[in-house]
Symmetry: C2
Subunit: 307 residues, 2 copies
């Protein structure tokens, strides 16, 4: 029987100023899926972790993504998926995207790559819809394309890879829950033209910084006047953490996705480790459980192996 | 007596989606200034054209920019400026910026380049203030830096050069007046987060398109959901012109600055000439006087010569 092992990475959506349009995948952590092609149409999911996620395909991120894919497959085939999640659901580092994107990339391999990357993003978005109610691609696209990606348009999908220089990332994951739907609710449906202009100036700076390997410009552009002021209330000691990280030498950073994770970019690994200590220092005093990852941008995205 | 001749180019601000943050200077048309260093503090302006602009320095764009500069010069020096404007005031292709930027770049040459480019932008912004009431740099910066520039921040000035591939530009200048202050009034002070997100996705695409020489991406990103819907009402047959230009092979385009000029990007000169014919075709039927320029991006910006 045809089988594939999928390593599907966590990712950081928004990248501070790029609200709803940008993201990048990271080397660590990642989920593991073992997928087998079956000769019966349909999806069977077996959870190998303790997160208690539903195994009913239509209620499951993996299942919904694969069912969207199977709806466009003529042959009577299906998938058995054993899922071992390492990326905690609700962490803000693309847990559902890793499941959905990993599943469709693995399935496409089992189907001899009959779908394009853009098709795969489309299928995986059905998984995101189950998780958060919104068909967004800012975590899925970087998982599937690798590196930093821009979703210029989510309607008629337009995904652009943005080559970036080497960057080290420190991620603080406070063990609290922030529901994406709640994090959406605190955003106003209107913003001032002044703030909007500031935001797209920073987006332009960030993209130019990535493409021109200009670390200082990347740092200066990591400013969010739209989501951060509203969403930071959900994250204990957010501004204290940010200040400590900047003092420790970080280029800049902010909320990962809709939180509660907070990420920081650094130019080199020693600085990223200093940033880790700065985060720990603040959170140890607060009596809140947390994890910290030090990692890099994952340029390849999802990895497949046969054993 | 020390003398310099300044060729100061027209420019296109906003570049469709980059409202208030981007611009590029063009090869043609340009203004001519003949500047002489004098040993008396102050500015004397002589207009050599028929636009009837004020010659009183504090009421004149050139004068205001130079007075802002002289306020930071210790020596008792001044400037005699003979100005020949070719770029019609109120055309929407940076007429006031050409005057202000040209004057301070010429003056800096006469003062042995004692000021930085950023200083020069700051002084020239005082000229823009006289012209439109707003200290904006999206025409001035491309005149002084050349090529496509991003003004990431206008408060603490942050100007970023964005290298772009070869592009041909066709500019239609309907001979009607649209005051910048009127064009500002039609913009709402709030926009929806949805539109704002669309706009910064396009800004990101445009910057990535420029930096990666991706003509298709540049074309797809030339979409403005913020200013164009409101400002196009001032420009006769705007959407008809746009459609005709796209049919003629233009990559895309829109209102130059706050109008009334309309610009279109093309990949090569024959296409830019076809776009010229398409513009003419529409406007000839409308009984409105107009000029059309076919030109390229001016990578150098303001040019100086000694005779």
């Amino acid at each position: 029987m045809k089988k594939v092992i999928v390593h599907s990475p966590a990712s950081v959506a928004n990248i501070v100023c790029g609200f709803d349009i940008m993201g990048f995948s990271i080397e660590d952590p990642y989920d593991k899926l073992v997928m087998t092609l079956t000769d019966k149409k349909g999806v069977t999911i077996i959870n190998k972790d303790n997160y208690g996620l539903p195994e009913e395909p239509s209620a499951n991120v993996i299942g919904s993504a694969l069912l969207a894919m199977l709806a466009e497959v003529k042959e009577d085939v299906g998938f058995l998926v054993e899922s071992t999640k390492v990326i905690k659901p609700g962490s803000g580092i693309g847990s559902s995207a890793a499941s959905a994107a990993g599943a469709v990339v693995g399935a496409n391999h089992l189907l001899k790559n009959c779908f394009s990357k853009k098709d795969l993003v489309r299928f995986a978005m059905s998984g995101e819809e189950v998780a958060s109610g919104a068909r967004h691609a800012d975590n899925i696209a970087p998982c599937i394309y690798g590196g930093v990606t821009l979703i210029r348009s989510c309607g008629e999908l337009d995904i652009v890879s943005i080559p970036a220089p080497e960057l080290f990332i420190t991620i603080l994951h406070p063990q609290i829950e922030v529901k994406t739907s709640e994090a959406r609710k605190v955003l106003k449906s209107d913003i001032t033209l002044k703030d909007a202009t500031k935001q797209w100036a920073n987006v332009a700076g960030l993209v130019a910084g990535f493409l021109q390997n200009d670390y200082d410009l990347i740092g200066r552009s990591l400013e969010d006047v739209v989501a951060e002021p509203a969403r930071s209330i959900f994250i204990p000691a957010f501004y204290e953490v940010k200040e400590a990280c900047m003092k420790a030498g970080a280029l800049g950073g902010g909320i990962s996705g809709s939180g509660p994770s907070v990420f920081m970019f650094s130019k080199d690994q020693p600085t990223a480790e200093n940033v880790r200590w700065a985060m720990q220092e603040v959170y140890r005093k607060k009596n809140i459980e947390f994890n910290i990852y030090v990692t890099t941008i994952n340029k390849q995205g999802i990895r497949l192996s046969e054993n």
